[in-house]
Amino acid sequence: MHIMEGFLPWQWCLVWWIVALPCLILGINQLKRVLAADREALPLLGVTGGFIFILSSLKLPSVTGSCSHPTGTGLSTISFGPWITAVVCAIVLLFQSLFLAHGGLSVLGANIVSMGIVGPLAGYGLYRLLRDTSVNIYITVFLVTALADMFTYITTSLELALAYPAESGGFVSSFILFLGIFAVTQIPLAIVEGIVLALVFKYIIALKPDILIRLKIFSKEKINAARNEV
């Protein structure tokens, strides 16, 4: 999903930085508050952030004949919300910009918006919808993860289509072309990522259910039900 350095006009780089910066500030403040309230949230942050590091480093081949990578933002989105996830993603994307030439500093804002903000926001919206329903925790994690992943790539397509509308067909035509490259490639990856992270959540529930209850991520009843389900 990386927009490469130099491939976005400076005006658009600025726009996406302006969108990303307030979200990052909000995320840092929220992170301070969460950690001040409960230090035991720190290991959970480590696990959810660790999966963003791992999964976003895996370039996997897909059905379209090209490679792409999962984002791993689902766990962090469910556990800490989109703003803290944006901060973790910013760290990963900065590392990739500085040392891997994937993305870049000028386009970092645009890449943070797609991977760290819009994807997690979409996932978080779905999580809030499903949290208090009877939908199983693992199905919730699967759907949130897959949706956050897909929306990341849809947003990248949108950012590029806005900057580069096609001569015939304009923005819509360009958006469809970019979706064909980014979003279609991502569908199988998003499904596998959703299943893998649902399994990881099973282990978090098995080892540290109390932190999930204290942070009000899921209710005690739902967590107990999940422990007996699979």
Binding site: F7, L60, S66, C67
Partner: protein, 100 residues
């Protein structure tokens, strides 16, 4: 009695199915290069603007890994950092549980 490892089995099936789809696709698709979608996206930008890819210059000069191998090494380093973090915390939690 419910099967304790059904989620693990589903995960393995999903990964095997994913690999099978890739193997099928790579053997039947002619001209598939399996390069990164980022690069293909950059190629489409070049096509849409009529400007060759090499004419897109970085707005902020950046360091590039000197070879693909070094790039792979750094990607592995990123995954390892995440792995150490995840493994460390799970170990910490297991230790806490045993202590309790």
């Amino acid at each position: 009695m419910k099967f304790k490892y059904s989620l693990e089995v589903m995960t393995v099936i999903a990964i095997v199915a994913f690999c099978a789809v890739f193997l099928y696709t790579s053997s039947t698709m002619s001209g598939a290069e399996f390069s990164g979608s980022d690069n293909i996206g950059s190629g489409l930008i070049a096509k849409l603007t009529g400007t060759p890819v090499e004419n897109f210059k970085p707005l902020i000069t950046q360091w590039k890994p000197p070879s693909g191998e070094i790039e792979s090494c750094l990607f592995a380093f990123q995954a390892a950092a995440g792995g150490i973090l995840v493994g460390g915390v799970f170990g910490y939690w297991i230790g806490q549980k045993k202590k309790a």
